[in-house]
Subunit: 228 residues, 2 copies
Amino acid sequence: MLSHTTNFSDTTNFSRNARFVPPAIPRGRADSFEMMGTSMSFARNAEIYGENEPAEYLYKLVSGTVRTSKILNDGRRQIGAFYLPGDIFGFEVSTEHGLSAEAITDAKVIVVKRSAVEALAARDSDIARQLWAMTGRELQRMQEHILLLIKSAQERVAGFLLEMAARIKSSNEVELPMSRQDIADYLGLTIETVSRTLTTLENSAAIALPSSRRIVLRNRAALRRLNA
Amino acid sequence: MLSHTTNFSDTTNFSRNARFVPPAIPRGRADSFEMMGTSMSFARNAEIYGENEPAEYLYKLVSGTVRTSKILNDGRRQIGAFYLPGDIFGFEVSTEHGLSAEAITDAKVIVVKRSAVEALAARDSDIARQLWAMTGRELQRMQEHILLLIKSAQERVAGFLLEMAARIKSSNEVELPMSRQDIADYLGLTIETVSRTLTTLENSAAIALPSSRRIVLRNRAALRRLNA
DNA sequence: CGTGTAGTTGACGGAATTCAACTTACGTGG
DNA sequence: CCACGTAAGTTGAATTCCGTCAACTACACG
């Protein structure tokens, strides 16, 4: 888990990113997260925590991208979620992590002891409310993930692109931080199907692909239509 | 988790002391659900609450079976969960229900105002803990649902049967309360595929089908193998 | 006994996977 | 700077799996 990775340093970041607060969490509180925590860095593909390890920490992503995943006994991999800067992850209701977390790109996180947050929450009902809200968003995210998984390949990919575009919220061009394999494992498809579906979408002028990781949403209405 | 200490999910405790609460095993609390609530009955297929309605109540199922579902704009239906006697549902973190709930069979529930429970939880950290644990189980349930949905039809059906058998916990014969359509919408398959898969499993001697709703698990190992 | 609902089965077509070849991007060392 | 090696992504052809459409059976209820 925490142990086997990379340089601890970079306290400079600490103050720089204290203002970078995701919209959902009120500002003053979010800072407290940074105040309490330690900054840590993880190299691309490094494991942040493993499945079944005790869930001792909460992580707030400062930069980079993180995925949570689970390896099934036949080797297939399911990706539970992608986390972007500002997101908080590692959040479990149980004492153990159900999925592992890995850095997709080099990533910087702020780490706080879960027990500390819970102690705070016990005293401060406002913190408690926020934990509650986080859980609610997690439930909602999972529900939407389930809805994606019952659809056709086109619908899944279109839905995924819209989700990412909404989260990254760069006008219409999205730089995907994750590989085709990651996307495939998130959507329950194969890389070939993801790849083919993207070129189909490109041919139908719904998107453009300047490079394999950069995607321009040309026609959101068409994507949303696919998203049914 | 909660499973055996929680009283929220234990219907049999009804008559225990509601006032005296032993510190270690807070039995009396559970009854509080029944104490606070009103009993209500719903006929087969009746709606208990609708999508997007304000989430004013919590429901503890006394008898019967309940499903939560969501209708997509193209008419498809996704079933979020099945609830069996003892289960608590209607539990939302947001102020609105994300899915509707319907009685699959005639059902009896105990209804309590959410605000009352939350008020209680604010004063009694033990109640709060139980709400928390319930949420945790819900998250875990959803995660397992996601895991089902990335698999093949055989794996989904096998996984579903094992899940139901574990929850109904009647030796090896399970009486399914829900229709093939319900199962299909839960698993993201068609009724035909569910039906065919069941007969395939029967032909491979993994299960027996004395009647369409009654299923005998003949070879759990084989089912678990399919469940990968 | 007929009617309606639920479930099963068959034939067929389409969608996604599999296996394989090929292209592109990228870094490293000669 | 280029040649090379590797990892990531794309494309093609064959196959498998699941959905669709339709017919048929089982069963409950009037």
